[in-house]
């Protein structure tokens, strides 16, 4: 009888809990014989990779301006459309969406390095509970502003100043979703990071191929994101122990904000 009593009390207590449950999106669970996804991302046609003109605005004291001109030069290869001879597109984010449960995300910090007035890497993946490691390897002042991309606004998550060369700041990864990294001192610098709770995210290599392992079986949506191409979403079915192949051709291009910032 008492057990019944406890059960009811707990159930009553739980009623408001779904309010909290909603927040816990991803349950870490042991995946015995998960399925795998591999594939190649190709571009429909060769798109020339633009060159970003760099214009150093005069600083308060002229010595600084010279230093900055020497460090950053006057133009920079955008490295936006890296399309191999097999039309494979590099730096495409492959994101498996609405994953309810799966392996725990790896403990791997993402290093974001300000080097030669550009962010290294251009596209990266960060995992919740590990850290961003923001480095400034240039002799000049950088400030890294990392913000989550919303519909037409951006929510700043971190906004850190790195005045000295070799400076390193570590910050925990908390907010998930696609983030855009900018430097308020140099308007042409950019980087894109996808922070995720689960390991089922991948970046295509220079041949455009990628591989995601040990997915619990089930129906998923896979999103292919590239800064220069429109997003493409594919429905897939993962069967235990098998590898499903997903290949996509990116056709419609789009103009990322950095180009308008540099005036192209």
């Amino acid at each position: 009888m008492r057990r019944l009593l406890i059960l009811i009390i707990v159930s009553v207590m739980l009623t408001p809990l779904p309010g909290f449950a909603k927040r816990v999106r991803y349950k870490v669970v042991e995946v015995s014989n998960g399925g795998h996804i591999t594939g190649v991302v190709k571009a429909a046609k060769k798109v020339p990779d633009p060159v970003l003109p760099i214009e150093i605005k005069p600083k308060e004291d002229p010595k600084e301006t010279e230093l900055e001109k020497k460090a950053c030069g006057d133009k920079q290869q955008a490295l936006m459309y890296l399309i191999g001879f097999n039309m494979g597109v590099k730096n495409v984010l492959v994101i498996v969406e609405n994953v309810k449960e799966g392996k725990a995300p790896p403990k791997k910090d993402l290093v974001i390095d300000n080097i030669k007035c550009r962010f290294e890497p251009l596209v990266g993946i960060a995992y919740v509970k590990s850290k961003y490691v923001i480095k400034n390897s240039d002799p000049i002042f950088h400030n890294t502003s990392l913000a989550k991309v919303l519909k037409n606004k951006r929510r700043t998550v971190y906004n850190l100043a790195l005045p000295r060369q070799g400076q390193v700041i570590k910050k925990p990864v908390r907010a998930t979703g696609l983030h855009e990294v900018k430097c308020d001192a140099h308007y042409w610098m950019r980087a894109y990071i996808f922070a995720s709770r689960h390991p089922y995210v991948a970046i295509t290599d220079d041949k455009g191929s990628f591989e995601i392992k040990d997915l619990p079986p089930g129906k998923y949506k896979v999103r292919f994101w590239h800064e220069g191409f429109q997003d493409v979403v594919k429905e897939i079915e993962v069967k235990p122990g098998s590898t499903t192949n997903v290949s996509v051709t990116l056709t419609k291009t789009r103009k990322p904000s950095v180009l308008s910032r540099v005036g192209l």
Partner: protein
């Protein structure tokens, strides 16, 4: 039977925990905050276009004024502080009227607009053992001011006119143009102007704006030194009603003549012109400083105000400028012309200077829309813009002989008012930033009676005392 009790207990309990989300927060929010911050907390209230800076959009989840490191959500005390003390320089007032419970409920309701941001428990930074302000700490701070690149946005003298501030993508997360803070005007600092406030702003940064957090890039001592230096830039604001003009031999020509620094000054708090069409609700200039002196035949008045971006009238915007207003006749009774542009029965003199042609012009105004220039121009004006600060000197002879001009007299309270224009916001004509009537007084040489009367009075009192003494002592002996 017990099952029945249990079910009843269950029903009873469920509304109880429903109680936690009762609606005092919502009621207060909708009654006193929604008109600016919007009923959905997205900053789209109907008072939005009458405020500058724009009301906070809570739904985006980014909070500028925090005691927590960059990336963390604000603590409840942070939001309570913003509600309780308001933000200087904005139209967010200090809400003292609500009880603590009400404010707590209000904070809970506000946090509901961006729930995912508040999932983590933030731990605020520690602000203690602030070193005392010493000469070399401030010098160190000045050095850091350059190293940490504050100069780029805040300018050499911290007036918020750094070169980088003028790129068109210098926006905040909400998509509005934003100006770097002007450290010299403490009453404009949104996050507070005390040493601790400045230290806190440097350490946590204002996320959502280009103001970065230096918590990791500068050590505590460095940040305290920087805070001390910034605090030392703050100007002492002297609000008052009248200004004395000293008599000197000759009027210094250039604006940075040290003689001007030695003079007494008066600060005029400015407000947008909201009385006549076109009304101006969102001015940026909040203060004009007035100094003055006079010689045997000339009067010179220097006006000083901070304008973060100079508009010379050649960039498609109207030029920056200033207008000094005097009644055309020193009023004897208490009757005066209307404080903005006079009225039909009491015309006013306008001394106008603008950055485009940098010379003084004289106008007569009998109301906001009847202004015409004078045939005989007697006012000379020279203006200089240096690192964010406009300094304009108007010089005119005390009696120009022109019937329409005011004749200055020593020892009399002469009303004056100021209208200032910042070209960047298309301010011209009636769309400007105005002040109320204030007074200048040409300090008279102390009149004779000040030397004659007091000794006479004390002599008389002495004599009366003596007389009393004589009478009483005679009575005492008798």
């Amino acid at each position: 039977m017990t099952v029945l009790i249990l079910i009843v207990l269950g029903i009873l309990l469920s509304p109880f925990n429903g109680f936690a989300q009762d609606d005092t927060g919502k009621r207060i929010y909708n009654q006193w905050c929604a008109q600016c911050h919007g009923y959905e907390g997205d900053g789209e209230g109907y008072a939005k276009e009458f405020t500058f800076p724009k009301p906070r959009d809570f739904s985006l989840g980014t909070f500028k004024f925090r005691t927590t490191p960059s990336g963390d959500p604000p603590t409840d005390e942070d939001i309570i502080r913003s509600i309780r003390n308001g933000n200087p320089g904005t139209s967010m007032p200090a809400w003292k009227r609500f009880s603590d419970e009400e404010v707590k409920a209000l904070v809970e309701y506000i946090k509901e607009f961006a729930p995912d941001v508040f999932e983590f428990e933030p731990e605020p930074i520690k602000i203690e053992n602030a070193p005392p302000a010493t000469e070399e700490i401030i010098k160190k701070g000045k050095e850091l001011f350059r190293v940490a690149k504050c100069v780029e946005c805040h300018g050499q003298h911290g007036r918020g006119n750094g070169k980088k501030a003028w790129r068109d993508d210098f926006k905040d997360d909400w998509g509005y143009r934003i100006d770097p803070a002007n450290y010299t005007y403490p009453w404009e600092l949104r996050n507070g102007s005390s040493l601790k406030d400045i230290y806190r702003t440097i350490t946590t940064g204002l996320s959502g704006t280009p103001m970065t957090s230096y918590q990791d890039s500068l050590s505590d001592e460095e940040r305290w030194a920087l805070a001390h230096f910034i605090k030392s830039l703050q100007v002492e604001r002297r609000l008052g009603i009248s200004l004395r003009l000293k008599k000197v031999e000759s009027i210094p020509e250039s604006t940075d003549d040290p003689q001007w620094e030695s003079l007494d000054w008066l600060d005029l708090p400015m407000a947008g012109q909201i009385i006549f069409e076109p009304r101006h609700f969102t001015p940026t200039i909040t203060n004009v400083r007035v100094r003055g002196l006079y010689t045997e035949d000339k009067v010179a008045i220097m006006l000083e105000w901070v304008d973060k971006k100079p508009n010379k009238g050649d960039d498609g915007m109207p030029p920056d400028g200033i207008r000094l207003q005097f009644p055309s006749k020193i009023p004897d009774g208490s009757e005066r012309p209307y404080f903005y542009m006079g009225d039909r029965r009491h015309p006013v003199n306008l001394w106008v200077w603008n950055a485009a042609d940098n010379l003084g012009k004289e106008y007569i105004a009998k109301g906001p829309d009847t202004v015409y220039s004078q045939q005989k121009q007697d006012v000379k004006a020279v203006g200089v813009y240096d690192d964010g600060l406009y300094r304009v000197i108007f010089v005119r002879s005390i009696n120009t002989g022109d019937s329409e001009d005011i004749v200055f007299e020593t020892g009399r309270f002469i009303p004056f008012a100021v209208t200032v224009y910042d070209g960047r916001l298309q301010e011209q004509g009636n769309k400007g930033v105005i002040s109320a009537w204030y007074y200048i007084m040409l300090e008279p040489s102390t009149p004779l009676r000040v030397f004659v009367l007091p000794p006479a009075v004390s002599l008389m009192v002495f004599f009366a005392g003596f007389l009393l003494h004589k009478r009483l002592s005679r009575k005492a002996d008798a």
